[in-house]
């Protein structure tokens, strides 16, 4: 028995959310007195694969098959399930990323495994295997008890944190058989903004709403985000009006995030918006309406006009950074 963690790469690199998943899987492996094996698919250098040791993987299965250079949901799920069987792993951990959300359910069906996606804490082993996950779009948590022999957990980014371990990872090439029927969906193009921090992974987020009055006023939001090293986000009315892309919409029908810092500017805080951001660790609200519901869930607030407040904060931040 062992634990297997899938380490998703983008352009040959691992992101922080992957190291988090490895750290999380290592904590479970330690609890179960077993080893942690990682599986990487795609073209990743040996130096990068070795990095996984730092977070607790003692072995890395490296699948470098050319047909799997790009993400193919069906084939990747087959390869990961094969690896779980080969390693006698009864728990598969992965990051609840966009790709992870596509993979975890397929792996779970292949292994007849109970699945918890959106996990936010380590399992509780007292009298079972219970995992806490987000539910009702951040308005609640559901504790899911898995009763199957095999299990799959997809961990939310920013929920567990990165924990360093000092294991030395050995790298082993893994060449599973790949069925042609698993390769029928073909990636034609990948468009990725390399200079921007992606919203689901971001530790800091600057978000703005209708209070900004129009898309032409986003310059100061972007400047503030750049200075902080933060991702930008927006409320639903803003993405509905096409002021900002849908991919920036956070809230119940957009995406749910849990950054360390969420700064909401000119967003009143409708229940649907709060649902998507309420698990942020620190919330700052800037709004000219002192009655805005958002202040009720904020840690810090400034009542005032965004067009006066934000430039002041930008200036203070520049001074702070020297």
């Amino acid at each position: 028995m062992s634990v297997l963690v899938y380490v998703e790469q983008a352009d040959g690199k691992f992101k922080k959310s992957v190291f988090e998943a490895v750290s999380y899987a290592k904590a479970i492996a330690d609890n179960q007195n077993t080893n942690l094996t990682a599986i990487s698919i795609g073209n990743v250098s040996e130096t990068e694969l070795k990095e996984l040791g730092k977070y607790g993987a003692s072995k890395v299965l490296n699948v470098a098959a050319d047909q799997l250079k790009n993400f193919v949901n069906q084939a990747y799920a087959s390869v990961i399930a094969e690896a779980a069987k080969k390693e006698d792993a009864n728990l598969v951990v992965l990051s609840n990323s966009f790709s992870g959300k596509g993979l975890a359910p397929r792996i779970a069906v292949k292994l007849k495994a109970g699945l918890v996606d959106g996990a936010v804490e380590l399992p509780n082993f007292d009298g079972g295997f219970a995992v806490k996950k987000t539910a009702f779009s951040g308005k609640a948590f559901a504790i899911t008890t898995l009763t199957s022999d095999n299990k799959v957990i997809a961990l939310n980014p920013n929920a567990f944190g990165v924990k360093e371990n000092s294991a030395e990872a050995t790298i082993e090439n893994f060449t599973p058989e790949i069925k042609s029927t698993d390769l029928t969906a073909i990636v034609k193009e990948i468009v990725r903004a390399t200079n921007k921090i992606s919203l689901p992974d971001a530790e800091l987020v600057v978000s703005a709403g209708r209070g900004l009055k129009g898309p032409e006023n986003w310059g100061m939001i972007e400047e503030l985000a750049d200075l902080l090293g933060a991702a930008t986000a927006c409320s639903k009315p803003v993405s509905d009006a096409d002021w900002r892309p849908h991919s920036e919409h956070v809230g119940q029908t957009g995406i749910a995030i849990s950054p360390n810092l969420y700064i909401a500017i000119g967003i009143s805080g409708a229940i649907q918006h709060l649902a998507g951001v309420s698990s942020s660790k620190v919330i700052v609200v800037i709004n000219k309406d002192p009655e805005a519901p958002f202040f009720k869930v904020a840690d810090y607030g400034i009542v005032g006009d965004a067009f006066e407040i934000v430039p002041k904060i930008i200036a203070a931040l520049k001074a702070h950074k020297g």
Binding site: Q74, A77, A193
Partner: protein, 245 residues
């Protein structure tokens, strides 16, 4: 062309979420149920693809008879017919299995779902159906075109998008951008009453886990207000007190 759209019956987005029975059950008292908003997007795109007699749209829901108003709403939006699998949707595994069983017996070109349901936020059903049927699944798409044989979809990835082409049957889960959610008109509402709604019985499948308890987030402390004239102070507080920058 035949498209199957999976719809989930979920609490309205304005619902205040509470639990009963020692926090083991969602409290449905006074809760208004709706078609899951993402499923509405999937349904709207399916209707657009079938416009002008190019195909038919069937909606499927796994639920007890109480979900029928939600199914009628989907018919009012423009689905041609509906199927209800008569069982409480235990979890995504159970639900996906029921839909896959129905799809096996009835030939569909594509199966569309919403990216996740807004109650359990699973994003599991679409990919599980794909696995049960051994066909490709593409999760969280924001664009879907179909030329009669090949579908071209745009899938969300961190910080960008991926364009994927798929020929043959597939499953996809739809997010915002795939379509504008359609609002039923009076004619739709009237005709929905008489459109076919077939009820089928569920097929047994093992249970792999279940929700044993709910929790609500811990309330936050009172907000610390920084006077507007000293807005700069916020940066100091975030650095020295909150320690997030």
């Amino acid at each position: 062309m035949k498209i199957l759209v999976c719809i989930s019956n979920v609490p309205d987005t304005t619902t205040k979420i509470t639990f009963t029975n020692d926090n083991t059950q969602f409290n449905t008292a006074g809760v208004q149920f709706i078609v899951n908003p993402y499923d509405e997007i999937a349904l709207s795109r399916a209707i657009e693809l079938c416009e002008g007699g190019k195909g038919t749209v069937t909606v499927i829901n796994v639920g007890e008879s109480a979900t029928e108003p939600t199914i009628r709403k989907a018919l009012a939006i423009g689905a041609d017919d509906a199927v209800r699998v008569n069982a409480a949707p235990r979890d995504a595994y159970f639900t996906a299995f029921q839909i896959a069983e129905y799809a096996k017996a009835n030939d569909f070109n594509m199966i569309l779902c919403g990216r996740e349901s807004i109650d359990y936020n699973g994003s599991q059903v679409a990919a599980m159906i794909g696995e049960f049927l051994d066909i490709p699944s593409i999760s969280i798409i924001k664009k879907l075109d179909f030329d009669g044989t090949t579908a071209t979809v745009e899938r969300e990835i961190e910080g960008g998008k991926e364009v994927v082409s798929v020929t043959g049957k597939f499953v996809a889960s739809c997010a915002e951008g795939t379509a504008e959610a359609k609002i039923p008109n009076m004619r739709g509402i009237m005709s929905a009453r008489t459109k076919p709604l077939t009820v089928v019985e569920a097929v047994a499948i093992e249970e792999l886990g279940k929700v044993t308890k709910f929790e609500t987030p811990a309330p936050r402390g009172a907000v610390k207000l920084v006077p507007a004239e000293n807005a700069e102070e916020l940066i100091t507080l975030l650095h020295t007190e909150a320690k997030v920058i």
